[in-house]
Amino acid sequence: MKRPRVLVAKPGLDGHDRGAKIVARALRDAGFEVIFTGIRQRVEAIVATALQEDVAVVGLSILSGAHVGLTTRVIEGLHKAGADDIAVVVGGTIPAADVPRLRAAGAAAVYPTGTPLEDILVGVRKLAMETPCASA
């Protein structure tokens, strides 16, 4: 079976990539094929990479406070491209009050700072299994 592919992406201008890199490496160690965009990626570029790399899950890492707007734009971009089957999860400095807002915007899961790596691995694995293109 093909290894599930995950895109770890940092939209916006904040340069705090410590968390994104730790999660990317933990996913790789857990058997995922991980593509990391690096920091300061435009939303359009993230969407394009997700399609091009045929990923099952996009993980966004946002520590600038702009998580609701940026996540909404990524999900809209995937939707417009007909890629609703790609799950989007979000991590970073996210207040509890914003978790329902992100879920309402279409985020499949939200992992605020302090979430144990194991929880992220379990959650992403489940999403990857549910996504048709992961086993295509």
């Binding site: 916006g12 201008l13 340069g15 990539d17 890199k21 300061r40 207040p95």
Partner: protein, 533 residues
């Protein structure tokens, strides 16, 4: 794991330096006793009387807002007898985008002031005589542009350049590997930094053109020893760049260079880090650059106590962490310090928590007595042995970077980023599996829910005001003058002339930050980030 067994990391420091149960005279056999404080190589500090001549500078939080709000706060601070201003810029300004760029609309004014043109700087310093204050800008990628704005704003106030005092961080190398506000590739960025250094030395002699920062490496995950080694390697790269141009001597340049770090919780390791860093830098300046004066070899540094060493669970424990870290910084001989507030991991510090952080330093300075005697730990068997081991570790990492082809190469191919990511991952796993004890996180935990994260709130009126001013300036400025100034900047960038004069001409013509950055991108291209993890 709420047991009282000793932590299982007693045999090494958090950077992995091995530790014995006890130290004695035999552990420094053959090593020379470090000379008195104030004597080369400054292991024991820069000044013979330690802090008796002058305490360290106590710096605190600077806050956010629009140019108008910041101007009001500056006037208040100056009215209270303050003499130094600290300016935080928003991310679009730091990364070279204008406030009206749709890509960055969510970030305008979010973590600092938005600066698009000289008009914003005029508002920022309205009614503030620039010859009577010292201004510190946390700015890197666009540091030369902000310096041009500051010089042009002083011109409008009819203040001569040699009366201006302040600092720009202007340390691009660490941006590529950690903080992230890079724009152009390393080579032209280094040229621009050398331009600012030469310009300041000639025309703005009381302005510090660079502060080499290790703090961001640390925040990204580097260990204490790596932090110091990477920072000194950056310092060497800047010195090499400036000296290779042949327009300045090490004696003129080195006194302009200062350093900036994070102090975390491993008490003796941090003290040893600063003592070892001071000695290593002094040795490099003498041996590599053949400096003749001791002054050129002096390592001056500021620090933040807190940062990634603070945790959200049982957040009030951070008060204690910051206090120990601040004490380690002082025992290490710090020149200026910022103490983080205990709520920093999840909120903008409240006035109460920021005041408590300030009081932490004041109690340290005025009650504990640790500042009374220079380098009070000098001669301790353990501290001297750990200083030696730390210096050896720093030298080893610097030699490895050299062998790799130097700092620029290590940044371009992601080698440096990989080293930091390795260490960050290791530390994270060690905390998750309990190998590295953290009280309230993996030891002595309670059911107390962690505090909620408070997001930075954007002021939509502030952004609207900024966009209006930018639109007005664009409509009112002389567009022919703008085109000429930008063309001149691009032409100068193709050659080797100092770019500060063309940048100041652009500032005077009310060119925007984004326009200047774009003009230079056309000549230099953009940095391509290796996505290493």
């Amino acid at each position: 794991m709420n047991d009282f067994a000793p932590p299982n990391d007693f045999a090494q420091t958090s950077s992995g330096l091995p530790l014995q149960p006890v130290y004695g005279p035999r552990d420094r056999q053959g090593a020379a006793e470090p000379p008195d404080p104030g004597r080369f190589p400054f292991t024991r500090g820069n000044y013979p009387a330690g802090y008796r001549g002058r305490l360290w500078t106590i710096r605190q939080y600077s806050g956010f807002g629009t140019a108008e709000e910041s101007n009001r706060r500056y006037r208040y601070l100056l009215g209270q007898g303050g003499t130094g201003l600290s300016v935080a810029l928003d991310l679009p300004t730091q990364c070279g985008y204008d406030s009206d760029d749709p890509e960055v609309s969510e970030e305008v004014g979010r973590v600092g002031v938005a600066i698009d043109t000289l008009a914003d700087v005029e508002v920022l310093f309205d009614g503030i005589p620039l010859d009577r204050i010292s201004t510190s800008f946390t700015i890197n990628g666009t540091a030369a542009i902000l310096l041009a704005f500051y010089v042009a704003a002083a011109e409008r106030q009819k203040i001569p350049r040699n009366k201006l005092t302040g600092t720009i961080q202007n340390d691009i190398l660490k941006e590529y590997a950690s903080r992230g506000t890079w724009i152009w590739p390393p080579e032209p960025s280094l040229r621009l930094i050398a331009d600012t250094i030469e310009f300041c030395a000639e025309q703005v002699p009381k302005f510090n053109a660079i502060s080499v920062a290790g703090a961001h490496f640390r925040d990204a995950g580097a260990s204490a020893v790596q932090e110091m080694a990477f920072t000194l390697a950056d310092g060497v790269t800047y010195c090499d760049t400036v000296l290779a141009r042949g327009r300045m001597t090490i004696e003129q340049f080195a006194p302009q260079v200062s350093f900036f770090f994070y102090t975390h919780g491993d008490f003796f390791e941090e003290i040893a880090k600063y003592r070892a860093g001071r000695r290593r830098w002094a040795t490099i300046v003498k041996e590599r650059y053949h400096a003749t004066s001791d002054k050129a070899a002096m390592f001056r540094f500021g620090c933040v106590s807190g940062g990634a060493s603070l945790y959200a669970p049982q957040a009030r424990n951070n008060v204690i962490r910051v206090a120990y870290e601040a004490m380690a910084s002082v025992l290490g001989g710090v020149q200026s310090m910022f103490t983080a507030a205990w709520d920093e991991p999840f909120a903008l510090p409240s006035e109460e928590s920021a005041t408590l952080a300030l009081r932490t330093q004041q109690i340290l300075a005025y009650e504990t007595g640790v500042a009374r005697v220079a380098d009070p730990l000098g001669g301790s068997y353990f501290v001297e042995a750990l200083t030696d081991a730390t210096e050896a570790g720093i030298a080893e990492i610097m030699a490895d970077l050299d062998a790799h082809g130097g700092m620029v190469r290590a940044i371009e191919d992601g080698y440096l980023q990989g080293l930091i990511a390795d260490e960050a991952y290791r530390a994270h796993r060690d905390i998750e599996d309990g190998t590295r004890p953290v009280v309230g996180v993996n030891r002595f935990t309670t059911d107390e829910p962690p505090p909620d994260i408070q997001a930075y709130e954007l002021d939509p009126d502030g952004r609207e005001g900024q966009l209006k001013r930018l639109a007005r300036i664009k409509a009112e400025r002389d567009s022919a003058a703008v085109r000429t100034a930008l063309a001149e900047l691009a032409r100068a960038a193709e050659g080797t002339a100092n770019l500060m004069d063309p940048l100041i001409d652009c500032a005077r013509a009310y060119c925007t930050v984004g326009e200047m950055v774009t003009a230079l991108k056309a000549v230099w291209g953009e940095f391509r980030q290796p996505a290493v993890f």
